[in-house]
């Protein structure tokens, strides 16, 4: 099956700093999503982005499907951005997703 690698595994930032999270995948994908899992375990949708670039406030994402990677940018980070960020891909268009192991982000005040 498809392999998903996320980097870095852990990231510690000072409030206000910017960061880039990366997701590499081993095969062509039909769907790609970025999620934020908050401290209570809820997975929150950030982006549905099989290709191209999207922006939502301080967050943006870019997927370069031909090179098999996606990037999540967080600007002017806030303590509430802390949590685990997951990339999930689907290579079959059936919708079932393969998740990476996540990037754990800690934003310090």
């Amino acid at each position: 099956g498809i392999q998903v690698e996320q980097s870095p595994p852990d990231l510690i930032l000072q409030e206000g700093a910017n960061s880039t999270l990366r997701c590499n995948f081993s095969d062509s994908v039909n769907n790609l999503q970025w999620f934020h899992q908050n401290p209570w375990g809820q997975l929150i949708n950030l982006f549905y982005i099989p290709s191209g670039t999207k922006q939502n406030g301080r967050l943006s994402a870019t997927t370069v499907a031909t090179e098999r990677y996606s990037l999540l940018y967080i600007s002017s980070s806030q303590t509430t951005d802390s949590g685990v960020y997951f990339c999930a891909v689907d290579d079959t268009n059936a919708g079932k997703s393969t998740f990476g192991d996540g990037t754990t982000l800690t934003v310090k005040p």
């Binding site: 039909n30 059936a94 079932k96 192991d101």
Partner: protein, 112 residues
């Protein structure tokens, strides 16, 4: 409701017991997914329904696990003869076919 709901939020059971976990998807979503998440890892796919039928159950770890969605809406994940290794957070998601998935809050299962 506005989002995916799951009940119970927590379930503690003894080894060897039977448990049922329930998922209510977003109204109108035809696709429903079950995942399992262990500490420090990403969610792992278990089974996917399109309507009432299981379109892909390749992620179910063994025949102790079974899921149903009899009317194409609510789904129940059933685990027989629970083992300590079944302890995890069980997540449900729903979507319109081929689009982004929306997750419920999960059920934390602890097998003593």
């Amino acid at each position: 409701g506005a989002g995916v709901s799951q009940t119970p939020s927590n379930k503690v059971t003894e080894k060897g017991k039977y448990v049922e976990l329930r998922c209510d998807p977003i109204s109108g979503h035809t696709a429903l997914y079950w995942y399992r998440q262990s500490l420090g890892q990403g969610p792992e796919f278990l089974i996917y329904f399109q309507g009432t039928g299981a379109a892909d159950d390749s992620g179910l770890p063994n025949d102790r696990f079974f899921a149903v969605r009899p009317e194409g809406s609510v789904s129940t994940l059933k685990i027989q003869r629970t083992e300590r290794g079944d302890s995890a957070v069980y997540l449900c998601a729903s979507s319109l076919m081929g689009t982004e998935q929306f997750f419920g809050p999960g059920t934390r299962l602890t097998v003593l």
